[in-house]
């Protein structure tokens, strides 16, 4: 993980309330991150039942891991989504099949905007968004298919008609590039803060 993150007050965090077993903290967690985690699950898993089971498991896992949350290492939303992605990848491995290439309905509603606002507020996500925007279109697409849409490298190779080795190299290179940008930004913040 990157060093020198901006530290938010831990007392403001839902995970801190959860770790302290405060009443209503779990409900707050589901309210705050329910749409985001559901959205991640729907991208990774093919049917509603699988996604339902997985999302329940993810929330229970977050609840049980809340005491491990350290705001100096990652922001709350990053911690939550890391657990969600790790659990969903494990789940996918268990069922060992990929979702069908289903078209996704376009729709907008207030709750969706709420999810976005959590991410809008995350400075870390903004840094990464800006860095991704600098990538070539093909690189953006490759990363989206792998990280966001949950396709395996061999599926991406077939979908985009690119050799598997090239898919692997490009995804690896771009992730390393993103991490370098992120670490650099965090270190700059710390230097300014310490100056």
């Amino acid at each position: 993980m990157a060093k020198g993150k901006k530290i938010k007050k831990i007392e403001d965090s839902i995970l801190f309330s959860l770790a302290r077993e405060e009443t209503g903290a779990f409900e707050k967690l589901v309210d705050q991150y329910g749409n985001l985690i559901w959205s991640i699950a729907r991208r990774y898993l093919s049917n509603q039942t699988e996604a339902e089971d997985a999302v329940q498991e993810v929330f229970i896992a977050i609840w049980k891991s809340a005491g491990r949350f350290d705001p100096t290492k990652a922001s709350e939303v990053t911690f939550v989504s890391m657990i969600a992605r790790r659990r969903l990848i494990d789940h996918l491995r268990k069922i060992y099949r990929h979702k069908n290439l289903e078209p996704i309905d376009d729709c907008f509603d207030d709750d969706a905007l709420e999810t976005k606002s959590i991410l809008d507020k995350s400075a870390d996500v903004q840094i990464i968004s800006e860095a991704i925007n600098q990538f070539a279109e093909e690189d953006k697409e490759l990363l989206s298919l792998s990280i966001y849409q949950g396709y395996s490298h061999s599926e991406i190779s077939k979908l985009m008609n690119i050799p598997l080795g090239t898919v692997k190299t490009k995804i690896r290179r771009n992730l390393i590039k993103l991490r370098e940008t992120f670490d650099q930004d965090q270190n700059t913040v710390v230097s300014i803060h310490n100056a």
Binding site: Q56, W63, L92, I147
Partner: protein
């Protein structure tokens, strides 16, 4: 050669953070991580999560909303788990408080003696023995101050539905397996064998006894029966062996119950 290894390691770390990994890939990853201790297993998890959220933020097409019935299910399941933990703590407190009062301690000693007499009778008959196992397991859980409890993780896809845990006390040299979702075995062809990993004392896992699965869909409890004294159990495993079991296994582990969740498992 070394730079090729490093490139492979980075590729595998990316796979680890983006998609399900095969057993072979995981074995290779673990080997390479030993060579490059400056890297960790979840090297790219954070950046992959941030990138995921970034794509989500910029995706104008979809906005999935958590359905309200699923939200209710999540809240209910958490309440159930929470209340179970609550009662477990209360029972523990109650048991502890009993032992602080000499009169109660004597009463419990008498009750345990009676219980022990029953259990001696019970050992003569396997069927009777079987029905007392949940109680024995509960007593072990409540009375051991060195109890370890690890969940089972599946190492093979055929056993992905297997769920349960082990409880073990080094002091009392007793433990129980609770398990469900295991395929029924034909005891004349093969049996499940329990192994106890005690690396400080023994190089090889210690035989913990054999068992059969006769029914599916129900939790079954099996006592662990170590063939050697255990000093410090670090984990448990199950293999499929010939009837009666073996002294040293050469079979694949089908389930493991280690202290820390394994990197590679078919279990959620």
């Amino acid at each position: 050669m070394r730079s090729l290894d490093k490139e492979l390691l980075l590729d595998l770390l990316v796979v680890q953070s983006t998609q399900p990994m095969s057993d072979d890939e995981n074995i290779e990853l673990q080997r390479l991580l030993k060579e490059y201790p400056e890297y960790n297993n979840y090297e790219f998890d954070e950046i992959a999560s941030l990138a995921h959220m970034s794509y989500h933020l910029n995706d104008k097409r979809i906005h999935d909303k958590l359905p309200s019935d699923i939200k209710s299910k999540i809240l209910n399941s958490q309440k159930k788990i929470d209340s179970l933990s609550f009662y477990k703590i209360k029972i523990n407190d109650f048991m502890r408080s009993l032992f602080y009062k000499p009169a109660y301690a004597w009463a419990i000693t008498v009750l345990l003696t009676i219980g022990l007499s029953f259990s001696m009778i019970e050992f003569k008959n396997y069927e009777n023995n079987f029905k007392y196992l949940p109680l024995k397991r509960g007593v072990l859980q409540l009375t051991s101050n060195d109890l370890i409890e690890y969940p089972w993780y599946s190492k093979e896809s055929d056993f992905a539905l297997a769920k349960g845990d082990i409880v073990w006390s080094n002091k009392s040299q007793k433990g129980f397996i609770k398990i469900s979702g295991m395929p029924i075995n034909d005891p004349l062809q093969k049996q499940y064998q329990i192994w106890i990993i005690d690396p400080i004392k023994y190089k090889q896992p210690v035989d913990g006894g054999v068992f059969n699965i006769k029914i599916v869909g129900k939790d079954i409890i099996i006592p662990i029966n170590p063939k050697l004294p255990i000093s410090n159990a670090k984990g448990f495993a199950i293999t499929i062996e010939q009837p009666g079991g073996v002294v040293v296994s050469s079979q694949n582990l089908i389930l493991t119950a280690p202290e820390v969740r394994p990197e590679s498992t078919f279990t959620l």
